[in-house]
Subunit: 160 residues, 2 copies
Amino acid sequence: MTSRPSKPAPGDQDSPDLIHDAIELIRQQGGRSTTPRRVVLEALLLSPGELRTAEQLLAHIQASYPDFTESTVYRTLALLEDLDLVDHVHLGHGPSHWYLSGALPRWYLTCTSCGDVLVAEADIFAGLVAEVAKRTGFTVDAGHFAVTGTCLSCSNQKAH
Amino acid sequence: MTSRPSKPAPGDQDSPDLIHDAIELIRQQGGRSTTPRRVVLEALLLSPGELRTAEQLLAHIQASYPDFTESTVYRTLALLEDLDLVDHVHLGHGPSHWYLSGALPRWYLTCTSCGDVLVAEADIFAGLVAEVAKRTGFTVDAGHFAVTGTCLSCSNQKAH
DNA sequence: TTGACTGCAAAAACTTTGCAACGTC
DNA sequence: GACGTTGCAAAGTTTTTGCAGTCAA
């Protein structure tokens, strides 16, 4: 686990920055700059807005680093999550889905009928967040949770 | 798995009705009236608004029916969920939490700091549900999901 | 050199499934 | 008697952990 992939992936412009900053942050906490940490960040950076399971990340990474293991994926994601660099959502059953936490907060709507995942912008639930805070003092953590329900096409299907 | 508990639990007034109706519904679908099904419903009826894990239900039931097994709990809950008699929430990590779906729809707010679960009434979310439906066509299923965030006391603690 | 980190293997936590015996209709 | 259900045991899925060897600082 020492070599780098032969060349940076295309569309990689901001990867070096983010990865450099992240590694710097890890160093500040007494952690070390290691290949797994760079590689997991790179894998998430390939499609910064997308959700990825640990298994998907592992499969992608193992194409270049066959020795990379599950446990390292999980340990690395946990570390990055502690530093608020990544986050994960539970879309329902099945594995957690991980993403870079840099992006705007979003809401994930999962259809219990077809399994599709819709993404909603944070402003949809701004009113809700304020209302919950006012009534209960609870600070809703946007982008950290999923909502289940029925998507439009499944609703239409059910209604014949 | 044939005998009944020696006497009905106290405060059981509506249990017979609900259980009877549920069994009737099961029969209409070609299912059978069995002790496990009655017993799981009874366990949930002990505290109708509360969330219970499969493990908690099992422990409670095994006090009266030592042979009762995990798999029967899960299979029974799945059946009752299919009939819309019970529902479950994922509060984050850990096991699913089950409840009778008869009650008013609610929202579960789990504090990522202390693990506490707050319950919020559905009307808090009415505006959100309408807004999501208008913008995306997605029908949010209230009471089926949990929201993470930080509760008031943990927020105060963090702020010193 | 020191100790943080990783790979490997095993296990933990939660849930599902196969099958033969059993109970309901 | 037919067949839906259950108990039991085994296995599936996702994630965590222990430990000895490896690598960054």
